[in-house]
Each structure stands twice: as structure tokens, then as C-alpha cells.
């Protein structure tokens, strides 16, 4: 008997049954998700966009935020951020067609972040107001490492993409990417005496540009 069969057999024996009833199990699993409002914290303000904006700069997330009216203003907003940190106008820019169509004159751009990259910019696919989370899906336009290698992680998010709660993201029927990266702040550690330090392996800074 294979190890797989041995394990499944001992699980079945322990449960004392022969054959599970998938329909009954599915119904029970669905019932466990009923009334989600009872098991999650309510948003501090009803509007998910405002809730997200509040949340992302709160100490819980600790990001910085700039709001712009339209995507066209992104290169100038990013320039302001880089200038404020004394960084050159150089970026690992996600090769997202929408971002690449903007006017990046004066910038040195590359597609993927190097191990010592100072700053990378990517477009989040979704935002989640409850936790101030940015969601990125890996793919042809999105390298996973662009969110983890740079010291400054800059993310642009369009307001209509903001969902209220974690379950709302889970309920999307988008096909699952290889990696769905939920980013909620910059990299941090409390591994030395419990004191909180940023930039453990991933970014030390998270800057969000919210469009709309």
C-alpha cells in the first residue's frame, strides 16, 4: 500500500467512516462563512476608499500616501517621493502597459528589480480597506521580486479597485495566479528582543499613490 493510502486509511479509520458526502460537507463549509460581519471588524468609515486611505497611513500599516486625481500625474508624484528621499529618478517599473504609457521622461527605467534596487513601482491589482492591503498577482507584467527586493516599494492603486473586506477579495472569481501577494506595509521584524525594525529583508518603505 502506498504511503498516501496508508495515511488516508488511518484518517478514515480515525474518523470511523467509509465515504464522505461532498455535498453535505460543502453545505457545512458554506454555512461557516455566513454572516461575515459578525466575525470581522467594521470599517471605521463606510466608504472603502476613505477607509483604505485612513488605514494605510495608520501605525498598523505605516505606509505613506499621496492621492492624485488621475494616473497621468503619477510620474510627477513619484518624482516628488524620490526627491524627498534624495533618490535619483531611477526605477524598476513594472512593465504594465498602463504604467508604461505614461510620460517617464527623465527617468532611468528597467523592468525587474536588482537585488540592491533602491526603488520599484508597481500597480496593485486590488486594495483591501479592512487591512490597508495591496494585492499583486504574478504574471507576464508582474515580477514577484519587484515587491520584495527594493528598499522603497512604491505602489499605485486606482480607487475603484478597493474592496471593503478580506472576504471580498477571496470571493473574486479571477483565475488564481501562481502568486497572489498581499502586501500590508513594509518588511518588518521583531526578532531581536521584540523591538520593531523595518527593512528586514524586504522593503523598508512602502509608499502608496492612490488615484481617484
Amino acid at each position: 500500500m502506498s504511503t498516501r493510502e496508508t495515511i488516508l486509511d488511518s484518517v478514515r479509520a480515525a474518523l470511523g467512516r467509509r465515504r464522505p458526502d461532498p455535498a453535505a460537507i460543502a453545505a457545512e463549509a458554506a454555512a461557516l462563512l455566513a454572516d461575515p460581519a459578525a466575525i470581522r471588524p467594521a470599517l471605521p468609515v463606510p466608504d472603502p476608499v476613505e477607509a483604505f486611505a485612513l488605514r494605510v497611513v495608520s501605525p498598523k500599516v505605516g505606509a505613506t500616501l499621496e492621492r492624485i486625481a488621475a494616473l497621468g500625474a503619477l510620474p510627477a508624484a513619484v518624482a516628488r517621493y524620490l526627491d524627498a528621499h534624495g533618490l535619483p529618478h531611477a526605477l524598476a517599473l513594472q512593465p504594465d502597459p498602463e504604467l508604461r504609457a505614461l510620460d517617464w521622461a527623465g527617468y532611468a527605467l528597467r523592468d525587474t528589480a536588482r537585488p540592491d534596487e533602491a526603488a520599484a513601482l508597481g500597480q496593485a491589482l486590488w486594495g483591501i480597506a479592512e487591512t490597508g492591503t495591496l494585492v499583486f498577482h504574478s504574471g507576464a507584467d508582474t515580477a514577484v521580486l519587484n515587491h520584495f527586493l527594493p528598499l522603497h516599494h512604491i505602489a499605485v492603486l486606482q480607487a475603484p479597485r478597493i474592496l471593503p473586506y478580506l472576504e471580498d477579495y477571496a470571493a473574486l472569481s479571477d483565475p488564481a495566479p501562481r502568486n497572489a501577494n498581499l502586501v500590508t506595509g513594509a518588511s518588518g521584524t521583531t526578532d531581536i528582543e521584540g523591538s520593531y525594525v523595518r527593512g528586514a529583508h524586504g522593503p523598508r518603505f512602502l509608499h502608496v499613490v492612490l488615484v481617484g
Binding site: S2, T3, L8, S10, V11, R12, A13, A14, L15, P20, P22, I25, A29, L32, L33, A38, I39, P41, K60, D111, P115, D116, E130, T131, T133, S138, G139, A140, D141, A143, V144, L145, H147, F148, L149, L166, E167, Y169, A170, A171, A176, R178, N179, N181, L182, T184, S187, G188, T189, T190, D191, I192, E193, G194, S195, V197, A200, H201, G202, P203
Partner: protein
């Protein structure tokens, strides 16, 4: 394979004595656990729905455990469809052998590893070393204890027993370009510089799993450092080792569990990096592993499932809250338990995983004050389970040998309520002696104990005795 820990178990009392006499250790433990306790409490103030969320989380895990065969098969089906390879391992040795075989097949010289308690449980660090494969621990705490040649002393903060001074010395001795100022920031930066090229040059990345999603075959990992993604993305092969109890029906269920897990562990609402990994790199993907392997490990879990008491322990989501709030853990630290899992959850799990004979002291490292159960986000009755093990070692002389080697403990005791009451009473009577010494008095530590500690006295009566008293006061017969 978990030889290092198993061999240590019999010296529990000596370890306790040593730990109690170590003022530096006490300081180090307090620095982290006190912060953790405070942050968790603050997080719950902002989450008045916690009690209901906890009930739901408990129900979700109970549902999974009661249908584990179904969810294992569903997960396997969906993971295979996503292009993952699934491997099954009965025990620690099998699991390690599979990982080593996969590493060898990948021609791996160097592997990066993101902290996983299951990896520690199965002795994977040791197995990799034996196989001559270089292992680079990437979680900052695991990196620290790898440099120190130690094992984790906490399931969330494995290096919690280390002071900043000790970390500084380790980094200065080992890092190519170490920190120059004695600040924690500078030390973290030193580790960042040191590990950068290790991440990028690894042949295989090994991670654990916080959740396995049955309906999609996805594996969920959570970290605050981002080391999991840096471990699993650059190498050509990603191997996940996961216990078979890690399943949840879907991502929505995982989200409900994450709310409980993260608040209970660190007091944050969500980890900085929460990633769902589904299969290997797709055509056109910019990065990611070409091969994705998931090793599903039983290692005693199906036996726990057969035991009605220990089955409850399969809900555990490894948040560490029970140890942060445990007066005994806070006095002696994780290493004194001499096992992979310390604290209350460890005192219940270790006898189940390694055998009660090897770990019979552990269930006595408890005052039965009930804090652990109160804070457990999936309501595991840890004190009751600990009492179960106490009864078990107490009655060892009475029951046939066959009884002692299996895990039929709960049935045996349940069928003998008088024996249960007697067993509990004996255990607590032994604990009462604690005030005058008790299990700890048989050790030469009275002095070291009082030097740095202020130990609350144990409750002193068994639950059954208290219940009877209460019922008497209420004028009813027990």
C-alpha cells in the same frame, strides 16, 4: 530525525534548573513576551467581534478535522491540476528523505529555508546537514539561531532567548560586512546585506504552509519580513512541507483564520506579507520556481485524530499565544522543554508526537491557571489535555503495557470516571507541593527560582473538586 530534541527530553529537569538560574535568559524572555501580550490585548480592543470570530474559527477547524480525508483528497486533486507535485510522508524520516531526494534531483548545493515549525518537527535542518546540502535560514530569528548552533525556543520568535548583545556578537563573528554601531537597526541591516546573495543564488527554496486551501490547491504563507517570498521565488524548485492538519476549505475560510492567527501571534491585524502560492511558474511569468512540490506530512496526526481528546489539538494554528501567556514558559523559556514545540501547546503535542515515555515531565510544567486556553484563538482546552497526560503518566503502573504505547488514553480514562477524578486529584496534589516545592522541589533549584522570579501559586484544587464544591454550595448533589 528529530534526534536532537528527543535526546534532550530526559534532561528536562536539569534544563529547568539551568534556565531558572539564568538572569539573562529571564530578561530576554520578558522583553518579547511582555510586548506580545500587550500588543495582542490592544489588537482585541479594536476587534470586539473576537469572541464570535473565535467560535467560528474553532468551528472551521473542527469541520476540517472531521472531514480531513475529504479535504486532503480535494486539495491533492486541485494542487495536481495546478501543476504542483504532491508527496505523502508517514513520519519525519520519510518527509526528510523526500525533501533530500528532491534537493539531490535538483542538483542543489545551497537551499534557502523560510521558517516552518513542521520543518523543525521533522528535523529537516539536521537531515540537510547530514546530506551535505548547505542550508541558509532566512527568517531573521532562524538565522540567529543557525549562527548560534541552537534550536528555536519559541514558535513565533525562535531567537527570543537571545539578547541584542548576544546577537551582535554572533553577527560580528559571522557576517562578511557586519554592523558598526550597537543598535538593533544596524544588526538587522547587517543580516540583510549578508543574506542578499544567498536568496538569489539558492538552488531550492523550502517553506512551510500556514494554510492549505482545498478548493484551489493553493498554499498560504505569512511573514512580516518578506523572507518567504524571497526564499520561494528565485530558486528553480520550491518545496513546501506541511502537516496534514493545515487544510481549510477555501480562501474565505483562510481569511477568517488569518484574522485570529495574526492578532493572537503578534497583535497585528494582518502580516505584512501574506502570499497564496498556486502551482509552479506559468508560461510568460517573469519569475518563480519551475517546480513546485508539496510534502504532506502525517507524523502522528492521524493517531491524534483517533483520540477524542488529542483530536482537539489538531485545531492548533501555531500562533504562540499560549506560551506568551504561560507563567511557566516565561520562567523557564522554550529550551527547557527540550522539544520542538514549547509552552502549553508543546506540553500537549510533544508526548503525542514523541511518546509519553520520553516527555512525561512536560505535562507537569503547568500550574493549571487556564490562561493558555483563554487566549487560544481556536479554544483548545490545553489544561484539560495536560491533565489527560498527567493522568496517563500517573496510571502508568496500573495499565497494561499495550495501553501505554498507544494513544487510547482518552477512551481509557473516559470509561473510568473514578480513575479520572483520582488521577486529576493526585496530579494536583502533587502540584500543591509546588508551593513548598512540588515537582520542582525535587530539584536543587529553590535558590535560583526565587532569585529572579515571582511565581504565582497553582490553583490547588482539581476542576472536579472545585465543581463539586460549587455544586454543594448550590445545594445540588454532584
Amino acid at each position: 530525525m528529530a534526534a536532537t530534541h528527543a535526546d534532550k527530553v530526559h534532561v528536562f529537569k536539569e534544563d529547568v534548573t539551568r534556565a531558572l538560574g539564568d538572569a539573562t535568559l529571564k530578561l530576554a524572555i520578558d522583553r518579547t513576551t511582555v510586548t506580545a501580550e500587550r500588543k495582542r490585548a490592544a489588537a482585541l480592543v479594536d476587534f470586539p467581534e473576537f469572541a464570535e470570530a473565535r467560535r467560528r474559527g474553532t468551528a472551521i477547524k473542527n469541520h476540517v478535522v472531521a472531514n480531513l480525508d475529504h479535504y486532503l483528497e480535494q486539495f491533492e486533486r486541485n494542487a495536481l491540476a495546478s501543476g504542483a507535485h504532491i508527496h505523502w510522508a508517514k513520519d519525519a524520516d520519510e518527509a526528510c528523505a523526500i525533501v533530500i531526494r528532491l534537493c539531490r534531483a535538483a542538483g542543489a548545493r545551497s537551499v534557502t529555508r523560510a521558517k516552518s515549525m513542521l520543518g523543525e518537527e521533522i528535523g529537516l535542518p539536521h537531515a540537510l546537514a547530514e546530506a551535505g546540502i548547505e542550508r541558509v535560514e532566512t527568517d531573521l530569528a532562524e538565522h540567529i539561531i543557525q549562527l548560534a548552533g541552537e534550536t528555536p525556543s519559541h514558535i513565533i520568535w525562535p531567537a527570543l532567548h537571545k539578547t541584542r548583545e548576544q546577537v551582535s556578537e554572533l553577527f560580528k563573528a559571522a557576517h562578511r560586512d557586519p554592523h558598526k554601531v550597537e543598535e538593533v537597526e544596524a544588526m538587522v541591516e547587517s543580516a540583510r546585506r549578508e543574506l542578499r546573495d544567498r536568496f538569489m543564488n539558492a538552488d531550492v527554496g523550502i517553506s512551510g504552509a500556514n494554510f492549505l486551501l482545498a478548493d484551489s490547491g493553493a498554499v498560504c504563507t505569512v511573514t512580516n519580513e518578506g523572507n518567504a517570498e524571497l526564499t520561494t521565488t528565485p530558486p528553480r524548485v520550491h518545496i513546501v512541507t506541511a502537516g496534514i492538519e493545515k487544510l481549510v476549505p477555501s480562501m474565505a475560510h483562510a481569511m477568517a483564520m488569518l484574522r485570529l492567527l495574526v492578532r493572537s501571534a503578534t497583535g497585528a491585524d494582518l502580516t505584512q506579507y501574506t502570499t497564496f502560492h498556486t502551482g509552479p511558474r506559468r508560461a510568460g511569468d517573469r519569475d518563480g520556481p519551475e517546480e513546485f512540490h508539496i510534502v504532506l506530512v502525517d507524523n502522528g496526526r492521524s493517531r491524534m485524530l483517533a483520540d477524542h481528546g488529542l483530536r482537539e489539538m489538531l485545531r492548533c494554528i501555531r500562533c504562540g499565544a499560549c506560551m506568551n501567556h504561560c507563567v511557566v514558559y516565561r520562567q523557564i523559556g522554550g529550551h527547557a522543554y527540550g522539544a520542538t514545540y514549547p509552552g502549553p501547546m508543546g506540553a500537549v503535542l510533544t508526548p503525542a508526537l514523541e511518546g509519553v515515555e520520553k516527555a512525561k515531565d512536560l505535562p507537569h510544567a503547568c500550574t493549571l491557571n487556564g490562561r493558555c486556553q483563554e487566549v487560544c484563538p481556536v479554544s483548545i482546552p490545553l489544561p484539560t489535555l495536560l491533565r489527560g497526560w498527567r493522568d496517563r503518566s500517573w496510571k502508568e503502573g496500573l495499565v497494561p503495557q499495550a495501553m501505554r504505547t498507544g494513544l487510547g488514553l482518552w477512551r481509557f480514562v473516559a470509561e473510568r470516571p473514578r480513575l479520572y477524578r483520582l488521577g486529576s486529584a493526585v496530579a494536583v496534589r502533587a502540584m500543591r507541593l509546588f508551593r513548598r516545592g512540588g515537582w520542582i522541589a525535587s530539584l536543587p533549584l529553590a535558590k535560583s527560582w526565587t532569585a529572579y522570579r515571582d511565581m504565582p501559586a497553582p490553583a490547588g484544587r482539581t476542576f472536579m473538586e472545585q465543581l463539586r464544591d460549587r455544586e454543594r454550595q448550590g445545594g445540588r448533589q454532584p
